[in-house]
Symmetry: C2
Subunit: 378 residues, 2 copies
């Protein structure tokens, strides 16, 4: 086992200690220099760690037990799940910008690819109407056709229709679960998870066999919005998990979209409340692309169909007019590499915005990313 | 014939001169001191009037012809239509605040009552869906039950359903036509006009037999919004008359509301566009009342049904908490009468807002209106 693998195993063990959150893991690694060192530390030393609770210190001292770790590794192997720590090249870059709330370790089945940064979440109620299911599939399918990866939660109802829509359009899709990747599932869910993993990834920050518990969903929802440039809420009752996702997305500075429906449909009330609170009303995928703004700004090409115009907005880098923000960042870059943090420092823009704008500029072919998050102009 | 009646007849004649608008009539009356004097003026004198076109001067000089006037008076009598000039006590006060765009003379069948100042317009597409018709009837009926007068345009579709909803709730309703009150109508329209006149009024600024022409509708729409505290657009296609009404309402400082619908319904697209442009999304009459804000602010009463709470907001003056704006105006008033213009001067608020707020305070029993638009505290 390489030092790298040993450290990942140590992170896995810490993540399996009751009461040890990702935040605590980051604090432990910062204090002791590595997860391995943290696992070997004494209780007195652990209790010195900034912000750690006595219970978490005790739990980390005790460790998860060898049997549990062996079982976790076995489940991972059987379900073809990999561990992706924060430091890994495979770790989704957008999650790094969840300040203080990034997962220390992800369990991933399938692959997160660089292009998955151009992602939109499509979420909504489990108990939804036929209208909701149709719209979820339509939005997901249309956005996937334009090159967006569709992020959702693999729940029944809207989530399921969103993943299905993306797959039908032969696009990519990411599912973030509120349970472990080996939690008890219905056969059709297993098949869906397989399909998603083959065309994207299924991921969770929870140990493999953790069942879905209500408390798991708000933390899961922050990852759904964290992975996405914007969140489209298709249908949601008042006071629902989807509204939490939308709120978190707003707090993360992501665009929040909501699809209206009949005023006599209870499952549209949450969306209407979101719109009243400032979410962007969207009727179709094009509205979403427009609402994302500078990241994927559509341009008007004469005599093409709507779909072609929008597809061009994403695909054809050369003809695109740049937004003011994109020009500002592009102007900073030249032949000598600039680190992303320098771009953040110069522009004073939020890191997540800088990151997405750099990605867009790269996808459009204006700039190139070098190793270590450094960028040059092409 | 009294001097008053003679002046009204002169106004009628001016209003029947081709190309002589209300704006021109106001300019003529200001210049010559009365409509009668304007009708007797020579062409040279008429051409001196501020802003008058040569064509309008010639037309006013020629007059409408005695035959046409006799016919108009006959039609008015047969249709039981009264002339209501700007100076009349029966002239709807909210229309006085349409600066530069108030009608000089209205033809009215039925009665405009003081309580009709608490009015909401419910408008929308002629070609509408069943959903739209249902919502129009529901909003109108619920708002009428709360004491609001429903204003609409007596067109097919949404307008018709709005008037019907108000009448079903035994409420009051006003119809403003884009044609003369004796224009050719289908028998069912005639009956509807009768029903509306019995429970409100049907009005037009056009001569009795003017047919509905496209150019009549934008001016008509300004009266619909002008009569109302807010405009609810139920269903509207993109680029439609209802959107013009909504825009005019916004320019007049009135609240604009729109009802969302399915994104796959073309007749909801106009409403969705309005919401994106800042109109308030409403699901029910209560949302409208809340959106009107200080004019009819609902208060939360414990353990009553929604309907009762909202009805209380309009009816029960004593228990209402006042908005900041209402308190500000109430604080100005005391035992010695204050003219509305003084209230406008002191508060620097738009006259239409001051007028509606004074009305609300009066309806709530806090103040009393004396002759000549002067107010005292009760």
């Amino acid at each position: 086992m390489s030092g790298h693998e040993e450290e990942t195993l140590a992170l896995l063990k810490l993540s399996m200690c009751e009461g040890v959150s990702s935040k605590t893991i980051f604090a432990l690694v910062e204090h002791f220099g590595s997860a391995r060192a943290a696992l070997e530390a004494g209780l007195g030393e652990l209790e010195q760690v900034n912000g750690i609770t006595a219970a978490a210190a005790t739990s980390a001292r005790r460790g998860p037990g060898e049997g549990a770790v062996a079982r976790e590794l076995d489940l991972m192997e059987r379900h073809r799940v990999r561990l992706v720590p924060f430091s890994s090249e495979d770790y989704p870059p957008p999650l790094k910008y969840l300040e203080g709330a990034a997962p220390a370790l992800l369990r991933v089945r399938g692959d997160y690819k660089r292009e998955d940064q151009l992602a939109v979440a499509v979420v909504g109620a489990r108990r939804c109407s036929t209208y909701g299911r149709q719209q979820a599939a339509r939005f997901a399918s249309d956005l996937a056709s334009m090159g967006f990866t569709i992020v959702s939660g693999m729940a029944y109802g809207i989530d399921e229709a969103a993943h299905r829509g993306a797959l039908m359009a032969k696009g990519r899709t990411l599912a973030v679960l509120g349970c472990g990747l080996a939690a008890n599932m219905q056969p059709e869910d297993r098949q869906r998870a397989l399909d998603i993993a083959e065309n994207g990834a299924v991921m969770s920050e929870l140990p493999m066999d953790v069942p879905p518990r209500p408390g798991n969903f708000p933390p899961r929802n922050r990852l759904i919005s964290g992975l996405s440039l914007g969140v489209v809420v298709i249908e949601a009752a008042k006071r629902s998990g989807s509204l939490i996702t939308a709120r978190l997305a707003g707090e993360q500075g992501k665009a929040v979209f909501a699809v209206p429906g009949s005023v006599d449909s209870p499952t549209s009330q949450g969306c209407h409340a979101l719109i009243r609170d400032g979410a962007i009303l969207v009727e179709n995928a094009r509205d979403v692309v427009e609402g994302l703004g500078p990241l994927s700004e559509p341009i008007e090409l004469p005599s093409t169909q709507d779909g072609a115009v929008v597809a061009a907005a994403v695909d054809d880098a050369r003809v695109l007019g740049l937004s003011e923000r994109e020009r500002r960042i592009l102007d900073l870059l030249g032949a000598s590499p600039l680190h992303i943090d320098e771009v953040v420092g110069e522009t004073q823009l939020p890191p997540s915005i800088v990151s997405s704008t750099l990605l867009t500029l790269e996808i459009r072919g204006f700039i190139q990313q070098l190793a270590g998050q450094r960028y040059v102009r092409r």
